[in-house]
Subunit: 358 residues, 2 copies
């Protein structure tokens, strides 16, 4: 475990993110105090070992503000004034509007190092906090023009000591990026799912794994996402402009009969190029693994038996996808392995009695 390059930290906001930062810093021997407008949140976070209840016994070296977006600017402004030597960082998921609010309000912007950990869970609150929440996750830092570079380096070092991977960019680039990589996909997933309302229950069965992938995000909490989208309204609406334009071009191509096929093909080809840029495993370009598809019965232990058999072959499973057949309790498990290992794995699984497809 890395020692954190900071002595004392105040965390304002003791929810999932704040309490997880506290747990991670405590595990690295840092003095941590916790505050929250909700006394229960502080109590739970303290009980879990995330720090001591604030206010801090001395001026903290660093303050993390981990409150909801609506109150972030006021709280950041307040702590910059309260602790006149402390570095202050935050965790809000959009940065530009907040940066403008801070710059307009306070003369202390040199001590403000804005951040955004791309980490989370499907549950919230300090009870769900964990010390390893940020391990191997990207943590964006978006220092403003007035941010002291030494303060930015300090926050980067602390964040890296929690196991996160720092990506430094500007507030504007950050917000444009998450509009394209996170906010637009969320909107599109919701709207593709909403389109299914037009179908009868028999017709909706005419679907496969692709639809499940494309509508998984659509199950997200509408209130939370309304807050996120409206806090990044400009970049998201610009990203939607671009998407609407590309969709319209494909639609018009389809309506132009034969003459429009070239336009449709060009759009799909651009998609192939774009998909190749999506970070895959280990943050790099996706590696083309070989797929060994195995048919398994849906009964206790079948997956376990399969993976135990796979382990005996010594072949490393790079990825696993389970495609459930419709209407019947059987499933197809796709084991992804390095291409040179596929033949061995398939042969040994067959020898163990598994049904491996060609």
């Amino acid at each position: 475990m890395t020692a954190a390059p900071v002595g004392s930290v105040l965390i304002v906001g003791s929810g999932l993110i704040g309490a997880s930062i506290g747990l991670a810093l405590r595990a690295r021997g840092v003095d941590v105090w916790l505050e929250d407008t909700d006394a229960d949140a502080v109590r739970v976070a303290v009980e879990r070992g995330a720090g001591l209840p604030g206010p801090p016994g001395r001026d903290p070296d660093l303050v993390f503000v981990a409150v909801p977006p609506a109150t972030a600017a006021a709280v950041i402004h307040d702590v910059l004034r309260r602790y006149l030597t402390a570095t202050v960082s935050d965790v809000a998921s959009t940065k530009t509007r907040l940066q403008r609010e801070i710059e307009a309000r306070t003369p202390f912007v040199d001590r403000f190092v804005p951040g955004h950990p791309l980490a989370g869970r499907e549950v919230s609150g300090p009870a769900a906090a964990r010390a390893d929440l940020f391990a191997d996750r990207v943590w964006a830092l978006t220092p403003g023009a007035g941010t002291d570079p030494e303060r930015a380096a300090q926050v980067a070092a602390v964040v890296e000591s929690l196991g996160a991977v720092v990506v430094t960019t500007t507030p504007e680039q950050h917000d444009r990026a998450v509009a394209l990589t996170s906010h637009t996909p969320q909107v599109v997933s919701s709207l593709v799912a909403a389109g299914l309302e037009a179908l009868g229950s028999a017709e909706v069965r005419l679907s496969g794994q692709g639809l499940r992938d494309m509508t998984r995000l659509a199950g997200s909490d509408p209130d939370l996402w309304t807050e996120i989208l409206t806090s990044n309204a400009e970049p998201v609406s610009e990203a939607l402009d671009g998407l609407i334009e590309r969709l319209s071009r494909v639609r018009d191509g389809l309506r132009r009969e034969a003459g429009g096929a070239g336009e449709v093909r060009a759009a799909l080809a651009a998609g192939v190029a774009g998909a190749a840029r999506v970070p895959g495993k280990h943050g790099s370009q996706p590696v083309p693994y070989a797929v060994v598809p195995v048919v398994i019965a849906d009964r206790p232990g079948e997956l376990g038996r399969l993976f135990a058999a796979a382990a005996r072959t010594g072949v490393n499973l790079e990825d696993v996808r389970i495609d459930h057949a419709q209407g019947r309790p059987t499933g197809l498990v796709e084991l992804e392995v390095r291409p040179e290992s596929a033949t061995v794995l398939a042969a040994e699984l067959r020898a163990d009695g598994f049904e491996v497809r060609d």
Copy 2:
């Protein structure tokens, strides 16, 4: 294995689908002949045991036409004339335009039972064929107004004997359904991926599992998908009209500042309702499983060791998702189990030394 309720079948088109139908029918004792304009395709399919080279030794009871969409109408017309007592079916992935072409060309529409197996592989050709390609897959049948109901029942029985689940609908409803469940998701995935071209290599790292899900389809073959989309141009362009309208409403809501938040929230809520209609496991509504998240090291046998340990607990794994951390060779495995089994599984995996997250 179910015996097929048919004595002899001619398959025109010996690619992946045609040869797989042949293998499945041969396994059930049916006399099968294979034809193809490509003599090599017939040779490979025959070598794999999918049937004998055509023309058939006697008039077949049933003909499956499994040729590319562009030639389907001409071939269907031809076999309806060649074998005046045979039932003829096809496997084209869009139905309305083809149905109109057949009805305009031939007086024998009563013997034509159009079909579409929702099955496929990432590879093509008779070498990739397999007898179980249709097991537990939906196979749509779209009898026209002039189709003899007894012929439709005959094809349904044959298709079910291959293990498929028959969904009967009209050509128009079929095409509208796949426009929404398959063709629109493909276009959207491509265009979301294409939008990433605007990002630098650092910014594109500000993404998570959601983006990978949303851009997986974007890797598909542009030529194949251009053919599919143009063959269903009208329903797809109508589905895109609907999507563009919903996207525009969200974008306008975001531009209207505070006043538009209600519109954004309504769109996201409609997505939650739509997502609940996506067929999950066993063709039913998705069951809310409990998630047991386990952190594993990326080395040979780790997944196998985990699944072997899980098998020893006797708990059935309902699903598995592996989320790869960015930039580091570690991963998070989410084991999905029935809610009542989660505590037992987590405790026993911890006892076996695994890092189970709360």
